[in-house]
C-alpha cells in the first residue's frame, strides 16, 4: 500500500504522483496552523504517499485527488509528547537489579497495541517519546515512536533518542540499608537517600570519563561495559541526557552535575522551574514541563516536595528559556492539548503554546526533519480539529499518521 512509498524521496514521490493518483488526498479550506509560522486560512494541504506534498493558500488540487473539505476546521501537525508514560507495568519499565542501567531500552518492552497509544491518538498525539521508568537512577535509553503503524518496526522514528537520569528520592525509595549486617535481598544497597542518588550518577559519569580517557591513549582492551559506552556518548554530546528533576534542589543539582561533567542536559518534569529560571537561562538548558496544568504532584516523586505554579510557563517564556510541554509522570496530567490550553491560559501566546507541543519537541528530539510541522516533504502526521485546538470544546476529529487515518471521531 502506501508503506513502500515511505522510503522514496520527495522527488520520486512527486514523479510517481501521476502513477499513484489514488493515493493523493487534498484537504481544503482549512485553517492551518503549520507550526513555526503564522496561521493560514482557507489553506490546502496535499498528501501523497504518506508525506505532505504541498501546503499553502494557493495550492492547486491535483487531478484525481480525493478532496476532503475542512471548512471551519483547524489542521495542526500531529502533537508530539516528549515525555509519554506508556501502559507498561512498573516492573517492566524499570530494571531494578541495578540502579544504573544506561544501556537498556524501553523499546524492548513496548507493545504497539498499547491501549495508552490508542488514547493518545484520540487526543491528537501522533508521536511519543517514551523513556524508561523513574525508579532507576539512570534508567536507560528512550525512543521516539509513532502511536500507530501497520508495521511495529516502522513506528519507531528514532531508536536511541535519549538517556534518562533521575534526581530526587524516587530512585532510592525501594532500597534499604542493611541493619545488623544482614542482607536479605538485592535491595539492600546504595542509594537509599537523595545524596546517594547523586553519588550514583556521579560515579557512573566518572567511570565513563575514565573509560574515555583510557581508550584515548591505551590500546583496545575489549568492549567496555555497555552502560559506559552510552554515558561516553552523552559526554561527547552525541546522545541527549534527559534529567528528571521536580523540586528546586533537584533542579539545581541537575544543572550542577551537568556542568561538572560538561554535558548539555534537558530537564524533565521541572515543576519548580520558575524558582531556578535564572540558572536555567544561564546554562541555556531546555526544559520539558510535565503537566503544567497540575497544581500538585502525585504519583512517582510526589515526595520530593515540588510545588508547581501555573505561572511557570510565563516565567520561562519571559526569560527566553526554551521549553516544551509534555504530559509527564504526574498522575494528574491532562491530555496534551489541554495542557497546552492551560499554558495559553496562563500567559503563553497561543502560537507559542502550540509550538511547545509540535515543532519544539521535534527539534529537541532531533526528529524535526520528519515531523513537528506541516511542510512539504515531511511525514503526513496531522490532526483535523473541530475548532481552534486551544478551545476547551475542541475535538480531534481526524488524526492522520503517514497519511492514514488512525482515529476518527464523528
Amino acid at each position: 500500500m502506501i508503506r513502500h512509498l515511505l522510503t522514496c524521496s520527495f522527488s520520486v514521490a512527486l514523479a510517481s504522483l501521476a502513477a499513484a493518483q489514488q493515493d493523493v488526498t487534498a484537504y481544503t479550506n482549512a485553517r492551518v496552523l503549520a507550526g513555526g509560522r503564522p496561521s493560514m486560512t482557507n489553506a490546502t494541504i496535499v498528501v501523497a504517499g504518506g508525506k505532505i506534498v504541498a501546503i499553502g493558500t494557493d495550492v492547486a488540487v491535483p487531478e484525481g485527488a480525493g478532496v476532503v473539505d475542512c471548512t471551519d476546521k483547524t489542521i495542526t501537525p500531529g502533537l508530539i509528547d516528549a515525555s509519554f508514560v506508556p501502559g507498561i507495568s512498573d516492573n517492566d519499565a524499570n530494571e531494578q537489579s541495578d540502579e544504573v542501567t544506561p544501556h537498556l531500552r524501553i523499546l524492548d518492552s513496548l507493545d504497539p497495541e498499547d491501549p495508552t497509544f490508542r488514547r493518545a491518538r484520540r487526543d491528537g498525539v501522533t508521536t511519543a517519546h517514551v523513556m524508561p521508568g523513574t525508579q532507576n537512577v539512570i534508567g536507560g535509553l528512550g525512543c521516539v515512536i509513532k502511536t500507530h503503524g501497520d508495521d511495529p518496526d516502522a513506528m519507531v522514528v528514532k531508536q536511541d533518542a535519549s538517556v534518562r537520569i533521575v534526581m530526587g528520592s524516587e530512585p532510592s525509595m525501594r532500597n534499604r540499608a542493611p541493619r545488623g549486617g544482614r542482607v536479605e535481598s538485592m535491595y539492600y544497597r546504595r542509594p537509599t537517600t537523595r545524596m546517594g542518588v547523586i553519588w550514583a550518577v556521579r560515579r557512573a559519569f566518572y567511570d565513563a570519563q575514565e573509560a574515555m580517557q583510557k581508550t584515548q591513549g591505551a590500546p583496545d582492551q575489549g568492549a567496555p561495559a555497555p552502560g559506559i559506552e552510552v554515558l561516553t556518548r552523552v559526554l561527547q554530546g552525541k546522545l541527549t541526557a534527559v534529567t528528571t528533576a521536580r523540586s528546586e534542589q533537584d533542579l539545581r543539582t541537575a544543572l550542577r552535575i551537568a556542568g561538572e561533567f560538561g554535558y548539555q542536559t534537558v530537564i524533565d518534569e521541572a515543576q519548580d522551574a520558575y524558582m531556578v529560571a535564572d540558572e536555567l537561562a544561564a546554562q541555556s538548558a531546555v526544559v520539558m514541563l510535565g503537566a503544567p496544568s497540575a497544581t500538585s504532584v502525585s504519583g512517582g516523586g510526589s515526595r520530593d516536595g515540588a510545588a508547581p505554579r501555573s505561572g511557570t510557563v510565563r516565567a520561562l517564556a519571559d526569560k527566553g528559556i526554551k521549553f516544551v510541554i509534555t504530559t509527564g509522570t504526574n498522575t494528574r496530567r491532562l491530555p496534551l492539548i489541554r495542557e497546552a490550553m492551560f499554558a495559553a491560559r496562563n500567559g503563553l501566546g497561543p502560537q507559542q503554546a502550540l509550538d511547545a507541543i509540535t515543532i519544539e519537541p521535534a527539534k529537541l528530539l532531533g526528529v524535526d526533519d520528519r515531523i513537528g510541522s506541516l511542510a512539504a516533504g515531511k511525514d503526513a502526521d496531522f490532526v483535523i480539529w473541530s475548532q481552534d485546538p486551544l478551545d476547551p470544546a475542541a475535538v480531534a476529529e481526524s488524526v492522520y499518521i503517514d497519511g492514514k487515518s488512525v482515529s476518527q471521531i464523528r
Binding site: N91, D92, S97, D108, P112
Partner: protein
C-alpha cells in the same frame, strides 16, 4: 532396554529358534496405519522389534512375519503417539534454580524423577514421549531432555535434547535480576555476545555456543508481543532459530516468525478462549509456520479437535500432534512417526482421533502396551452414522 514380560514370551522363546537374548517380535495388523500424517497405509502391518519399528507394511519379510506374535487390531486406526513438546510435569520446583536467572548449563536429566506421579497420566492422554523443559522461571533454564512414560517407571530417551530459555513474566522476579523484560533481553544478549566473542569461558557459555552453532535447538517461552519480538531478535542477532513456547500474541508477529523460520508451541486450546486464539493454528498453518500443540496433556486431543473445528486441516492437526513436535525437539528420527527405526510408540483408535467420538483403545510405548486393550476380537466396523 525394555523386556516384554508377557507370560507366553518365555514359552515362545524356548520354542523358537530365535536367539535367546531377543524378545519376540510383534506384528501389529490394523485397518489403517498412519505412518506419518501424509502417509497412511490401509490394511497393513508393522513389525516391532526391541521396542522399535523394524519393518513397515510390505517390507516385512515373511519369515519375520511368521515368527512374530500377531496382534490383530481389526478395523482400528494406528497413529503415532503424541509428542508433548514442552512440559515440566508439574515439578517446577525441581526445575527452576531460583537464586540465579542465568543457568543454561544445568541439566534437567539430573532432576528427572522416573517415578513422578504425573507420568502415569500421560499414556491415557495418548502422550508417548515428551520434552521435559526447564521451568519458565529462569531466563536461561538449562538443558532439557526427551523422556517417555513406561510401565513401571519413566525413562529418558534422549539427554540434552534442547536448551530452554524464558522471557515470560515468570522469569522476571522482583527479588533478583532481571526484574524487567528489557533486563532479561539484555541479559541474554550480553551472554550470547560473550559466548560469541569467545574470550570468556565456562560451561554456561559453552551451551550458548552450541545453540549458536545449531548443535542444540533453543526453546524460548514468550507470550506478549514484546517478548516474542525479543526472542526473534535474539535469534536474528545470534543466528539461531528459536522455538517459541506459548506465543499467545503470535498473530502480531506472523511476518517475523515466517522470516526467521521460527516455530511455535501452542498452549492448551479450550472452547472458552477467544476466537482469535482458536483460529491461530489455521493462520500459522497457512503462513507455513511449524507449530504443535502442548499445554495440559489430557487436553491435547481436544485442542487439536478445536483447531480442526476452526479451520485447520486434519493432516496439519495430526502433524501438530506428532511429527512437528518431534522435529522441534530434534528427535524426528526417533519419535513422532512410525517409520523404520522409530520407536514403537503408537496409539490405537477406532476412528480418526481428531473426532472425539473415536474411542481410544490402547497406548503402546517402546513396543509395550501401557494402557488399554491389546487385542480386539469380533470388532465390527465403525458405524456410518457417527
Amino acid at each position: 532396554m525394555q523386556r516384554i514380560t508377557h507370560p507366553l514370551v518365555g514359552a515362545a522363546m524356548l520354542a523358537a529358534i530365535a536367539a535367546p537374548a531377543c524378545a519376540q517380535d510383534l506384528l501389529i495388523k490394523a485397518g489403517r496405519i498412519m505412518v506419518a500424517p501424509d502417509s497412511i497405509l490401509e490394511d497393513s502391518a508393522l513389525l516391532v522389534r526391541d521396542g522399535k519399528i523394524a519393518y513397515v507394511g510390505n517390507d516385512i519379510p515373511t519369515e519375520a512375519r511368521a515368527r512374530a506374535r500377531e496382534i490383530d487390531l481389526g478395523d482400528h486406526t494406528v497413529s503415532p503417539g503424541f509428542v508433548l513438546a514442552a512440559t515440566t510435569l508439574k515439578s517446577d520446583a525441581d526445575l527452576a534454580e531460583g537464586a540465579f536467572a542465568f543457568t543454561p548449563d544445568l541439566r534437567v536429566a539430573e532432576a528427572f524423577d522416573a517415578w513422578n506421579e504425573h507420568l502415569e497420566h500421560l499414556a491415557p492422554s495418548c502422550v508417548t514421549s515428551f520434552g521435559m523443559a526447564p521451568s519458565p522461571r529462569n531466563v536461561a533454564g538449562g538443558v532439557g531432555v526427551l523422556a517417555k512414560p513406561g510401565k513401571t517407571r519413566g525413562r529418558i530417551a534422549a539427554e540434552d535434547a534442547f536448551v530452554g530459555f524464558s522471557l515470560v513474566s515468570a522469569a522476571r522476579s522482583q527479588e533478583r535480576d532481571p526484574t524487567s523484560l528489557m533486563g532479561a533481553r539484555s541479559l541474554l544478549s550480553d551472554a550470547f555476545e560473550a559466548a560469541r566473542v569467545g574470550v570468556e569461558v565456562g560451561p554456561d557459555l559453552a551451551v550458548l555456543r552450541q545453540v549458536m552453532s545449531g548443535a542444540r535447538s533453543a526453546m524460548i517461552y514468550g507470550d506478549t508481543y514484546a517478548e516474542l519480538n525479543a526472542a526473534l531478535a535474539l535469534g536474528k542477532q545470534f543466528n539461531f532459530t528459536p522455538v517459541i513456547i506459548g506465543a499467545r500474541d503470535a498473530h502480531k508477529v506472523m511476518g517475523k516468525l515466517t522470516e526467521r523460520g521460527a516455530s511455535v508451541v501452542l498452549g492448551t486450546l479450550s472452547p472458552t478462549k477467544r476466537v482469535a486464539e482458536l483460529e491461530l493454528p489455521k493462520k500459522l498453518a497457512d503462513a507455513g509456520i511449524p507449530f504443535c500443540f502442548a499445554g495440559r496433556p489430557d487436553q491435547l486431543r481436544v485442542s487439536a479437535a478445536l483447531a480442526v473445528r476452526h479451520g485447520l486441516s486434519r493432516e496439519a492437526a495430526h502433524a501438530a500432534l506428532t511429527r512437528t513436535p518431534a522435529t522441534l525437539l530434534g528427535q524426528q528420527s526417533a519419535v513422532g512417526a512410525l517409520r523404520q527405526g522409530c520407536s514403537a510408540d503408537f496409539l490405537v483408535f477406532d476412528g480418526d482421533l481428531l473426532d472425539l467420538n473415536a474411542r481410544h483403545i490402547a497406548t503402546w510405548v517402546d513396543g509395550v502396551l501401557l494402557c488399554g486393550a491389546e487385542q480386539t476380537q469380533n470388532q465390527h466396523s465403525a458405524g456410518a452414522n457417527r
